[in-house]
């Protein structure tokens, strides 16, 4: 597909374009505001962010795949509880596996790993009446996971740098630029600013596509 057709198609189906690009244009954290609790409170360092990311990698796609197979004929009220139940079971195995590999590190995250079980990031699909195919559930699960992991790592890195002057435990600068970044309200502030920057990126990308399309039209 040549660039002109691609640009026109993306613009013509902009909502669809946004929905498919879960990492950047429709990031589950910075655009949709999902998983705010663990990110604002627990993702204070790169290490904690890695733990959260591993947990989501182990839970999100398997939950989505299992529920897409089993809940095809379920009504929304039934799905409301089947989704969290499936994610809770999957989480149990994932949590145990993380404990075996990382020791007490995941346990030190407190309630912020277990609450992923009912977080809209994992279970929000129960509200949709549209049935999801097996392949689509895998693809969408992986897209959402990638979007969350990118946001989580970025956030953890930025917060650790601002609050402690280090990244991954390695000291970069001796000054603490913004000590409040380690607290929950600092997390809300930084996520809010990142959301605004993300919105700016999406708008700039959209404008860039429009200009490109207009350029193609002028040139014929």
């Amino acid at each position: 597909m040549d660039r002109k057709t691609k640009v026109n198609r993306e613009l013509a189906n902009w909502d669809d374009t946004v929905r498919r690009r879960k990492v950047l244009l429709s990031n589950p954290v910075f655009i949709k505001g999902l998983a705010l609790a663990p990110l604002s409170v627990a993702a204070t360092t790169l290490g904690n962010s890695l733990m959260l990311s591993i947990a989501v990698i182990l839970i999100l796609t398997p939950t989505r795949v299992i529920t897409s197979l089993i809940t095809r004929r379920m009504s929304v009220p039934l799905k409301t509880f089947f989704y969290p139940l499936t994610s809770a079971v999957v989480f149990g195995f994932a949590y145990y596996a993380m404990y075996k590999v990382f020791g007490t590190w995941p346990l030190n995250m407190g309630a912020y790993l277990p609450i992923l079980v009912v977080d809209p990031l994992i279970v929000k699909n129960f509200e949709k009446t549209r049935k999801e195919s097996f392949l689509y559930s895998i693809i969408n699960g992986l897209r959402n996971t990638a979007g969350f992991v990118m946001a989580c790592i970025l956030l953890g890195t930025i917060r650790e740098f601002l609050a402690y002057g280090s990244i991954g435990g390695l000291s970069i600068i001796s000054v603490k630029l913004l000590p409040m970044a380690r607290y929950s309200f600092g997390g809300f502030l930084i996520i809010g600013v990142m959301c605004a920057l993300w919105n700016m990126y999406v708008n700039i990308y959209h404008d860039k596509l429009k200009k490109e399309a207009a350029g193609y039209e002028l040139n014929g």
Partner: protein, 403 residues
């Protein structure tokens, strides 16, 4: 009172606030050295540059009449010790102006008192530097701010101690503390100037201080002195009077209705004393003010014409006032009512007349229904639909399609 006169009034408010801060800054310079001026100039310039930068980024005209940032920056400075590092002043003022003011929409629409927000931001991030106190009339290094530090009266009370400062020294501000928030006599004189000039009203300061006084008398936390002395120390050794004059009267963040102002003042007083008694920081007033600012609109609605305390209302209407029932609280505009009337009869008749077919009438109804959905979904916009305009657009669309 029309919009223009309100705007002129608010501009004059900030001009007079700047004027009112001058004697306090002068007293601070006398007590704590010329570094006070350096800190004030740095804060002033940072606020101005931030305003200009945001105007450029947002592609708007630079509003030279908007002095809310500069007033807030100077009020913030007066609550800091003279030894505060300049980078703290710059970062705090810049973040406050950009995120606390312009991110919320800019002039007159920000929800939180800028000075209180700045002070809270500095206290949370750099408590040792922002909440320190300097002994007056001692040497202060001009550039680095190195100075002889001491415990302020408020810190001593917080730690369970008793500040040994005479009443006259408390009134003159001759005790360790922030740059400008301790000059009680000067602040009271300035308050009289602002009251006479009607730049502030008595409702909030009086209700705030009265509430603080009652709580200090009824529940004293300073032991070994009489209740009156305890009251005197609570009110005069901290920045309560400074808050009452300079921070609780910001036009953008306080109610306009007089009764609402009194309630606002009382609530501020209660929360301030709660934060001072049980909070982690002695500047409880600033944190309390942020919480009370969040309720400002509610008090105005409650006491305005049509609010619950103006007319007797049923419980359901009161809940609607709280804004909890989103659907029922949706504003009914003339446009909405027009649409509902036009939908069934006039739209169908005129649509059929215009295009001569049921299909066109359905298209028009679709346009109107979609617009209604938008109005219902977004609670606080007041978009209305003009039926005639919708018909015109439909006719133009059909002409383009060649019908």
């Amino acid at each position: 009172m029309n919009k223009t006169s309100v705007k002129i009034r608010e501009q004059s408010h900030y001009d007079d606030m700047l004027l009112a801060l001058l004697p306090i800054i002068l007293c601070a310079c006398v007590m704590y050295s010329a570094r006070v001026l350096l800190v004030c100039v740095v804060a002033f310039l940072t606020a101005r540059i931030s305003d200009v930068a945001m105007a450029v980024i947002r592609k708007q005209e630079v509003d030279t009449s908007d002095k809310s940032s500069t007033v807030a920056a100077l009020v913030f400075c007066m609550m800091l010790p003279v030894s505060v590092p300049l980078y703290i002043v710059v970062v705090t003022v810049a973040v406050t102006v950009v995120l606390g003011k312009h991110a919320f929409g800019g002039k007159d629409v920000y929800p939180f008192s800028l000075a209180a927000l700045a002070m809270c931001f500095a206290a949370v991030n750099w408590p040792n530097q922002a909440l320190a106190a300097v002994t007056p009339l001692t040497k202060v290094s001009f550039w680095s701010g190195a100075a002889e530090s001491a415990l302020s009266g408020a810190s001593q009370i917080k730690a369970g101690g008793l500040p040994y400062v005479s009443t006259i020294n408390l009134l003159l501000g001759y005790h360790p503390g922030a740059m400008g928030s301790a000059f009680i006599l000067v602040i009271l004189s300035v308050a009289v100037f602002l009251l006479v000039g009607k730049r502030i009203t008595w409702h909030i300061p009086v209700s705030f201080l009265a509430t603080c006084a009652i709580i200090a008398i009824v529940f004293p936390r300073i032991y070994g002195v009489s209740r009156f002395d305890s009251l005197k120390l609570e009110l005069l050794s901290s920045a309560l009077i400074f808050y009452a004059v300079f921070m609780l009267n910001e036009p953008a963040t306080t109610p306009h209705n007089p009764k609402a102002k009194i309630v606002f003042g009382v609530l501020s007083g209660v929360l301030t004393m709660l934060f001072r008694y049980f909070g982690s920081y002695e500047i409880g007033g600033c944190f309390a003010l942020l919480l009370v600012n969040a309720t400002e609109g509610f008090w105005d609605r409650l006491f305005s014409a049509g609010g619950i305390f103006e007319n007797s209302r049923s419980f359901k209407a009161w809940i609607a006032q709280l804004g909890l029932n989103k659907k029922k609280a949706a504003p009914v505009t003339a446009g909405n009512v027009e649409i509902k009337k036009a939908k069934k009869s006039a739209a169908r008749k005129s649509a059929d007349k215009a295009a001569g077919s049921a299909d066109t009438g359905n298209q028009l109804l679709d346009i109107i229904s979609a617009a209604e959905d938008n109005i219902d979904q977004v609670e606080f916009t007041t978009r209305t639909i003009d039926v005639k305009q919708a018909l015109k657009e439909l006719e133009e669309k059909q002409k383009k399609e060649g019908r």
